[in-house]
Structure formats: structure tokens, C-alpha cells
């Protein structure tokens, strides 16, 4: 069973990457200037309290012992304690993740249809006028700062026209849809060009594929070739795009949520950074990286499942 082999190999790789991610997030907090025990104890704690906390949290142990403790904690589901909220980071994440997940799904719904349409339009005549325009507009779209676009859109559609709320998350499904519309559009405007470019490239690659030549030799019309041969072959690249999207969208969410004051993981991250709440930063970085890796893995496995030729 090659598929099973693939699965086992990818899972082994996964363990390696997860171990690496925990090492990086562990070292991240250790790069912080200053004494972590002092940070835990607070600014005004006495030297004795700091020393007590240092031994209580095992901060006087060698680095590798501390890493093992961290790993053990991770394995038991403990990703640290927020200094500011005095609550486990995992609880904070559970509380703040819903707006982010909703926003992510929203962005996907808004971004995929135009991406597929534009990529097809461009790939039908590579180098044609439509393709050129889409490419240039895409390049321009990539250069827009997301936070600036967010501010300008909330000023215009939110304040001047009053069509959409400019901050918050709203109540209920339609409330979420309404509140998150501007954040989702801001992210999508910046995401669509990236995705269109790679999907277009994948589609054009298909136009040079042997099976297209074969179909053409058998007398299929260009229209038939496009809709029946090329397009089904573009499904996989689109699926792969989803994997690429995730990392981009997490980065975008951090900024967009800040601009629109959406109470999501991005806002949590920025506030933790500004408040020097290192364990929240550590926990969030870990969670973001693990989700990225898991989603990429799912996409890869799905691809291999759909297309038996794919082996990686």
C-alpha cells in the first residue's frame, strides 16, 4: 500500500517538525532580555520572592532540563500561563479563537470564487489582454498595506456610508457576517492576487501537458479541452493553494483583527506582544505553527488520495 507508506512517512516527518516547533517556541521566550523569574514575580518583588519563583518554576535548572519540562507540559496539553490574565493560555485561545475561525472561513468564501474566475480568465489566453490586466492589477493589489486598506474602508463604508460596523464581532451568525464583512474583504483583496498568480501558473502549465496535446490530436475543440481536460486538472492546484493560504491568512488576521478590533487570536497576539506577556506569545506561535503544519499535511494527503500519481 503506497498510500499507507506515504502516510507513515509523513507522520514521522510530522513528529520531527513538531519537535522542532516546540524547540523554537521554547528558545523564543529564552531570547527575551531580562530575568524570566523577575517577570513572573512582578516588578516590585523582593530578591527572596524572585529566588523562590526561580526554583518553583525550575528556572534554575539547565536549559535542556527546562526544555524537557516544557515538552512534557505540551504533551499533557499545558501550553503555559498568561502573566497578565493569570489564566492558562489554552483557555485564552479557546475564548479568542472563534472570531478568527469565522473570519478565516469568511475570507475563504469571499476569495475562492474570484480567484478561480480570474485565474481561468487569465490562463485561457496567456499573455492576452485579460491576462495582462489581471496580472498588473494583481501586482498592484499586492502592494496595498492591509492595515491602511482596512482603515480607509472602515472610514468610507463604515463611518461615511454607515453600511457596516467598523469594529467588534457582533451577535449571532448574521451579526458576525455583518461585523466581519469589512475585515474579510480587506483580507480577501490582498489574498486574491497571490492565489490567482499561482493558480494561473498551474493552469498554464496544464496547457502544455501531454494529455492536452493528446486531446487536441484526437480532435477535441479548444472549448472541450479547456472545460473537460484542463479544468478538472486544476482542482488539485486549487486544493494545494488552500494549504498555502493558511499561513498567509494567519499573518493577515493578526493585522486585520487589530484594525477592526475583532476579539480574535490576532488581537490577542498583538496585545500579548505589547504587554510582554511572553507565554501567550509562545503559546500562540506554537498553535499557529501546528495548525499550519496540520493543514498542509491534510491537503497533501488529500491530494495524494485524489491523484495516485502524486508521491511526496
Amino acid at each position: 500500500m503506497p498510500l499507507l507508506q506515504l502516510l507513515v512517512r509523513r507522520l514521522l516527518q510530522l513528529i520531527g517538525v513538531l519537535a522542532g516547533i516546540s524547540l523554537v517556541t521554547f528558545l523564543l521566550v529564552h531570547m527575551a532580555p531580562g530575568d524570566p523569574a523577575r517577570l513572573l514575580a512582578g516588578e516590585r518583588a523582593s530578591a527572596e520572592t524572585v529566588a523562590a519563583i526561580r526554583s518553583q518554576y525550575g528556572l534554575d535548572l539547565p536549559l535542556w532540563r527546562q526544555f524537557l519540562t516544557y515538552l512534557a507540559n505540551l504533551l499533557s496539553g499545558d501550553i503555559g500561563l498568561s502573566l497578565r490574565f493569570q489564566r492558562p493560555v489554552i483557555q485564552l485561545i479557546e475564548q479568542f479563537m472563534w472570531p478568527t475561525l469565522f473570519l478565516t472561513a469568511y475570507v475563504l468564501c469571499l476569495a475562492i470564487p474570484p480567484t478561480v474566475a480570474l485565474a481561468i480568465l487569465g490562463a485561457r489566453r496567456p499573455g492576452g489582454i485579460a491576462d495582462q490586466i489581471i496580472r498588473l492589477v494583481g501586482i498592484a493589489g499586492l502592494t496595498i498595506p492591509v492595515f491602511w486598506l482596512g482603515i480607509m474602508m472602515s472610514r468610507f463604508f463604515g463611518v461615511s456610508l454607515g453600511w457596516f460596523p467598523v469594529s467588534g464581532y457582533g451577535v449571532g451568525f448574521t451579526g458576525h457576517l455583518h461585523h466581519l464583512f469589512l475585515p474579510a474583504v480587506s483580507t480577501a483583496i490582498w489574498l486574491v492576487p497571490v492565489l490567482t498568480q499561482s493558480l494561473r501558473a498551474a493552469l498554464i502549465e496544464k496547457t502544455a501537458a501531454d494529455f492536452v496535446t493528446a486531446a487536441r490530436a484526437q480532435g477535441a475543440t479548444e472549448r472541450q479541452i479547456f472545460w473537460q481536460t484542463m479544468l478538472p486538472n486544476a482542482v488539485l492546484p486549487t486544493l494545494n493553494l488552500l494549504g498555502v493560504m493558511v499561513a498567509f491568512m494567519i499573518g493577515g488576521a493578526v493585522i486585520v483583527e487589530t484594525v477592526y478590533a475583532v476579539p480574535g487570536l490576532g488581537t490577542l497576539m498583538v496585545n500579548a506582544l505589547l504587554g510582554r506577556d511572553y507565554y501567550v506569545v509562545q503559546g500562540l506561535t506554537l498553535v499557529f505553527a501546528v495548525s499550519t503544519v496540520l493543514i498542509t499535511l491534510t491537503v497533501d494527503l488529500l491530494t495524494a488520495f485524489i491523484d495516485p500519481r502524486v508521491r511526496l
Binding site: 522542532g20 531570547m31 499586492l142 491602511w148 480607509m152 494567519i250 499557529f288
Partner: protein, 283 residues
């Protein structure tokens, strides 16, 4: 397209590309001149506070209006271009140099160096780029220097990966084998034969990367993690103006437009260089 045998992957001919690249170069050149000549061109001191004229809309006296403490937005946009241009260079060059060096070694010698590099690459791309840079800057402390440092720590892997891929094909070519047979030391082969042939796509990538670096720099300034106020930087200016955007849209609008135009310069140039690369013309 109906009777074209093999629709070319091809991109537009040289004639259609050159004007775009010319536009890109003139945008970049224009910004360079504006940045260098900022003290001469700027009508006001970018940090001069003028309480009597705060939040005044664009006018003949203040082309881009004034901000909440009466500073001239036009002068600040000009002076900020020095910071943002410098940021692009400082954010692209270190990862470029480090990544290219490691990519050359990794691709040419293979073995342990290559294995270690590939593991580091796999690990780095497991993190969302922006989040990792943000986390590193947050832990080291906000500021431009730490931003550049974090960007370098994370960004070099993309350059190394690109160079490595180039070197893997170049390594097997006849001129490299010839050089090896003639007894040239690896250092000479890498410097005189491999590097010149591998560098083209890297330069094209670096120019496109400058857009990302500029946007990241402005975003970090906006989040309070990059350039620190009162230093004029486009992201910082937009953050400053956000609270006043209802009464005074001009504080946010102009720095954003400036960032877009500089970004367009880099993006169009990068696109043009990339197309030349794909057609096998050395840049």
C-alpha cells in the same frame, strides 16, 4: 488560439515588458531622489509642532494637510520615505547575502550541510512568516533594528532554498565539470562560475521581496513593533492618524498612497526581471 499548436507559456514580448520596467525604475528613482532631497524639498520641519494649525485639511500651505499636533503631513511623508527606503535595503540585503552563501554551500557540497539546511528550512516554513517575525521582534523588544534582525533570521531560508535549487542544476553542467577537471578549487568554482549563473533569479526574487519587506516594516510600525514614534515612518504615521481618521482622513491617506507607489515600483521591477529570467536573458 484555435489553431495555435502549443499555446506558449509565454509571456509578452520584450517590447511590452520594457515600458513597464521603465515605469518601475522611474518610480524607484523618483522616490530615491525625493528621499535624498527631503531636507531641501520639504516645506516644513517634519517634527515641528504647530498647535494653531492642527488637523487642517490639505491646502496651498499644507499640501497633504496637518496631523493632530499640526505637523505637516507632506514633509513627514517625504522624510518617512528615507526610513522606508532604508528599511527595504536593510531588510533585503542581509537575508540575501546569508541565504545565497548557505544556498551555494548546501547545493554544491550536499551532504551534512545540505541535510541540516533542509531541516532548518522545513522547520522555518512551518511557521507563518509574519507570526514568527512578529514573535521574535516582540520578545527581543520593538524597534527597527530588532525588526531587521528577526527578518534576517527568518528570511534567509527562502534565498538559500532558491540558490540551492539553482546550484543543483548548475553543478552538473559541463562548464563546471570542465572547471573541476582543470583543478580549480571549489571556492573559485563557486565564486566565478556557480554564483554568476545562479544569481539572476535571486535578484529578481529580492526585488519582489522588497515589497514584502516594505509592507512588513510599515505593518510593524503600525502595530507599534517597528519604527517608534515620533520618527516619521509611513506605518507609524498611519497608526498615529487612525484615531483621527473621521475628521482628518488625510493623515492616513497619503502615507498609504506613498507606500503603495513605492511598493508598485519594486513589484513591477521584480515582475519584469522575473519574466526576463524565465526567457533566459541574464539580468
Amino acid at each position: 488560439m484555435a489553431d495555435t499548436p502549443a499555446p506558449a507559456i509565454a509571456a509578452p514580448s520584450v517590447r511590452t515588458v520594457t515600458p513597464v520596467m521603465l515605469v518601475a525604475l522611474s518610480i524607484l528613482g523618483g522616490w530615491l531622489v525625493l528621499a535624498l532631497a527631503a531636507p531641501v524639498i520639504a516645506p516644513y520641519d517634519p517634527d515641528a509642532i504647530d498647535i494653531l494649525n492642527m488637523l487642517s485639511p490639505p491646502s496651498a500651505a499644507h499640501w497633504f494637510g496637518t496631523d493632530q499636533v499640526g505637523r505637516d503631513v507632506f514633509s513627514r511623508v517625504l522624510f518617512a520615505s528615507r526610513v522606508d527606503l532604508l528599511l527595504c535595503v536593510a531588510g533585503v540585503l542581509p537575508p540575501l547575502v546569508i541565504g545565497t552563501t548557505i544556498g551555494l554551500l548546501s547545493g554544491y557540497f550536499g551532504g551534512l550541510v545540505d541535510t541540516v539546511f533542509m531541516r532548518i528550512y522545513d522547520l522555518t516554513v512551518a511557521f507563518p512568516f509574519f507570526v514568527l517575525v512578529l514573535a521574535i521582534v516582540g520578545v527581543l523588544g520593538p524597534g527597527l533594528l530588532n525588526f531587521i534582525l528577526a527578518l534576517t533570521l527568518v528570511g534567509w531560508v527562502s534565498y538559500a532554498r532558491l540558490v540551492r535549487a539553482q546550484v543543483l542544476t548548475i553543478r552538473e553542467s559541463e562548464y563546471i565539470q570542465a572547471a573541476r577537471c582543470l583543478g580549480y578549487p571549489p571556492a573559485a568554482i563557486l565564486a566565478h562560475h556557480v554564483l554568476p549563473n545562479a544569481i539572476g533569479p535571486v535578484i529578481a526574487y529580492a526585488v519582489s521581496d522588497a515589497v514584502l519587506v516594505m509592507l512588513a516594516g510599515a505593518s510593524f510600525g503600525f502595530l507599534g513593533m517597528g519604527a517608534q514614534p515620533p520618527l516619521a515612518e509611513w506605518g507609524v504615521m498611519i497608526a498615529d492618524g487612525q484615531a483621527f481618521v473621521q475628521q482628518a482622513w488625510w493623515i492616513c491617506l497619503f502615507p498609504g498612497l506613498a507606500a503603495i507607489s513605492l511598493g508598485l515600483g519594486f513589484a513591477l521591477l521584480g515582475d519584469g526581471l522575473g519574466q526576463l529570467q524565465r526567457r533566459g536573458v541574464t539580468a
